[in-house]
Symmetry: C2
Subunit: 343 residues, 2 copies
C-alpha cells in the first residue's frame, strides 16, 4: 500500500508534464509518400469500401463490419463474415484509424494499404479464395476499369495493390475532429464540464495516459509501421482474466510466435470510445464503465471507486468527435449479368 501510494505520488508529479501533452486531433491524417491523396482516388476507394461484390457471395463489404454510418465498427462483440461466420475479434473502428501506426488488434499490418488486403481473403470475413479472384471481379466491372485508369494511369488494368491504395486513401479522410476535448484543447474551456476535467486529470494521475498518449490516445512517438504494444492484462490474476476470457487469445504472439509477445496488444484509440461498445479484442465487456474498471485493475492494479469511474467515463465521452457528412457512393454496375454467385 505504501509503495503504491509513493508510486502514485510519483506518477502524479510526472503527470504534470504529461498533462501538457494532451493533443487535439489534427484535421488531416499522415499520408505515405507512395500513395498521395486525390479526390478521384478517395471516391474510388469509397466505392470499393462499400462494394459487397468484393466478398465471395456478395454479402459483405468493408463497411459491413467497419460501418462508417454507425461509428466505424459494427457494435458487436466479434465481426460476422460470409455464411454468418463469426471472427475471433471485434471490428476496430475505421474512423481515425489513419492515426494508428499499425493496423489490426495485433498490429500485423504496417499500413492501411496492407490492412485492406487481409479481410478480402480471410475465409471467415469476405471469404474470397484469392486476391486474383477479387481483381478478376473488379476487371469485369466497366465503371471500375475506367475509374482505376483515371486514378492510376500507369497501369493498364485494375490491380489489387491499387485497390488497396484507393481504399486506404478513402480511410484517411475518415477523421472525427472537434470533440468537446479538442475544443477544450483549442481554448474553449467550457467545452468540458467539471466532471470531465476531473476525469481528464484522473486518467493522467493514475497512469492511463502513459500508454494512451498522443492525438489519437493510442501511443505517441512511434513512426508509421511501428506499433505501440502493451500486455493485456499487464497484471494477470484478477477476477477479470476468467470473467472476460482475457488470456486465451495471445494477441501479437499469434503473429510473431515470440514468447515476449504473449498477450501483447496494440494500444487502441480512445477517440469515440464511448460510442464503440462492446470493448476489448474479444468484445466481452459490454459497457464503458466496466471497461474502465477492468483496465484500471488489469493494467494499473487499481480498484477504482464508482465516482472515479464516472469521472473517467465522463472524460471519455468528451472524446466523441464530429462525423463529417458524406455522399453515398454509387457502385458501378454490370449490365445484363451478375458477378456474385450463390456460394
Amino acid at each position: 500500500m505504501h509503495l503504491r501510494k509513493s508510486l502514485l505520488s510519483l506518477l502524479a508529479l510526472s503527470s504534470m508534464s504529461a498533462f501538457a501533452e494532451f493533443k487535439a486531433l489534427p484535421e488531416k491524417a499522415p499520408v505515405p509518400a507512395d500513395n498521395p491523396m486525390t479526390p478521384a482516388k478517395i471516391e474510388l476507394g469509397k466505392m470499393l469500401f462499400f462494394d459487397p461484390r468484393l466478398s465471395m457471395d456478395g454479402t459483405i463489404s468493408c463497411n459491413s463490419c467497419h460501418n462508417v454510418m454507425y461509428h466505424g465498427g459494427d457494435g458487436r462483440p466479434v465481426g460476422v463474415g460470409v455464411h454468418g461466420q463469426r471472427g475471433g475479434r471485434g471490428s476496430p473502428t475505421v474512423w481515425n484509424s489513419a492515426f494508428q501506426t499499425v493496423q489490426f488488434w495485433d498490429g500485423r499490418a504496417a499500413s492501411l494499404e496492407e490492412q485492406a488486403l487481409g479481410p478480402l481473403v480471410n475465409s471467415v470475413e469476405m471469404g474470397m479464395t484469392s486476391h486474383d479472384l477479387v481483381i478478376d471481379r473488379i476487371r469485369q466491372i466497366p465503371g471500375y476499369i475506367q475509374a482505376f485508369k483515371a486514378v492510376f494511369p500507369k497501369e493498364a488494368k485494375p490491380t489489387i495493390l491499387n485497390a488497396a491504395k484507393a481504399i486506404a486513401a478513402y480511410e484517411r479522410i475518415l477523421i472525427t475532429p472537434n470533440s468537446p476535448f479538442d475544443q477544450y484543447m483549442r481554448g474553449k474551456k467550457k467545452a468540458l464540464n467539471a466532471q470531465q476535467i476531473k476525469g481528464m486529470k484522473l486518467v493522467d494521475e493514475i497512469g492511463c495516459t502513459s500508454c494512451h498518449t498522443g492525438e489519437n490516445f493510442s501511443g505517441d512517438g512511434f513512426k508509421m509501421g511501428e506499433g505501440h504494444y502493451q500486455p493485456f492484462p499487464q497484471i494477470p490474476g484478477s477476477k477479470y482474466d476468467k470473467m472476460y476470457d482475457l488470456l486465451s487469445d495471445k494477441g501479437r504472439w499469434e503473429v510473431t510466435k515470440k514468447d515476449d509477445d504473449k498477450n501483447l496488444w496494440r494500444v487502441p484509440t480512445w477517440r469515440n470510445v464511448a460510442i464503440t461498445a462492446p470493448y476489448f479484442h474479444n468484445g466481452k465487456v459490454k459497457t464503458l464503465d466496466e471497461a474502465v474498471r477492468v483496465m484500471a485493475k488489469t493494467q494499473l492494479g487499481i480498484d477504482l471507486k464508482d465516482e472515479q469511474v464516472s469521472d473517467i467515463v465522463g472524460f471519455l465521452n468528451a472524446l466523441t468527435g464530429e462525423f463529417p457528412k458524406q455522399t453515398m457512393p454509387m457502385l458501378p454496375n454490370t449490365a445484363n449479368m451478375t458477378l456474385t454467385p450463390d456460394n
Copy 2:
C-alpha cells in the same frame, strides 16, 4: 402455327395503340394520404433503412439486401439474412418500388408501409423475434427518441407503425428518372439508338407490354394495394420449367392458398432491369438475354431469334435511369453500451 401467326398479327394490330401508351417515369411517386412526406421523416426513414441494429445480431439492415448504393437489390439469386441464412426468393430492387401497387414478389403487402414490417421479423431475414423487440431497441437510442418525437409529435414514444411510415417515406424518394427511354418519351429522339427503337417496337408487337405496361412497366390501371398478377409460366411445359425450377414456388398461392393463384406473380418492373441480374423470383436466370428468351417462351409461346433478343435487351438497357446522389445517414449512437448481442 397458323393460329399463332394470326394471333401475332392481331397483337401487332392492337399494339399500335398500346405503343402510344408508353410512359415516362414521373419525378414523384404517389403518396398515401395518411403518410405525407416531410424532409425530417425521410431522413429518419433513411437512418432506419440503414440501421443493422434493427436485426437480431446487428448484421442486417434493409439496405443489406436492398442496397440503394448498388441498384437497390443485392445482385444475388436469393437474399441472405442473419446467420448466413438464405431466403427463398431474390431481393426486388427498392428503387422505384413506390410505383408498384403491391409489394413482395407475391404482392402480400398492400403498401410500402406494410412491406417494411415483414423482413424485420422474418427468421431468415432480419430475425427479430417480435416487433416489440424492434421498437424496444429503437426506444433505447436517444437520437431516435428525439427524431421520432419531431416527426410524429402526437406519439410520446417511437412506435413500430411510425418506423414503417418513416421507412416508406424514404423509399418514396428512391426514383431513377431520366433514362434514355424517358428522354426519348419527352422528345429527345436521339436518346435511343436504332436497335433500341426496334426493341421497343418488338416488345409491343409480340405482347410483352400487355403486362409490362405503364410508367413502371409493371401493370397499369391498378390502384395502390391492387396488384397486377400473371401466371409464370403462362404456358407451362417448356424446357425452362425444369431448367430454372419455375414451378416449385407457387407464388401468390403461398399467401392465399386459392387454386387460381398457383404460380401467379406480381408483374415486376422493367425499370433498371438491365442492372438488376440475376432474374425472376428465384434468381436462377443469370443474364438478361436468357431472361428475355425465357419470358418470350413461357409467357407468349415464342422462340425469339438471337437478333430479336439483342434488340429487346438493347431496349431494356435504355430503361436504366439516373440514381440521384444521396448523403449517408449517421446512425444515432448509444453512449457507453451496445444493443446488439452475439446471437
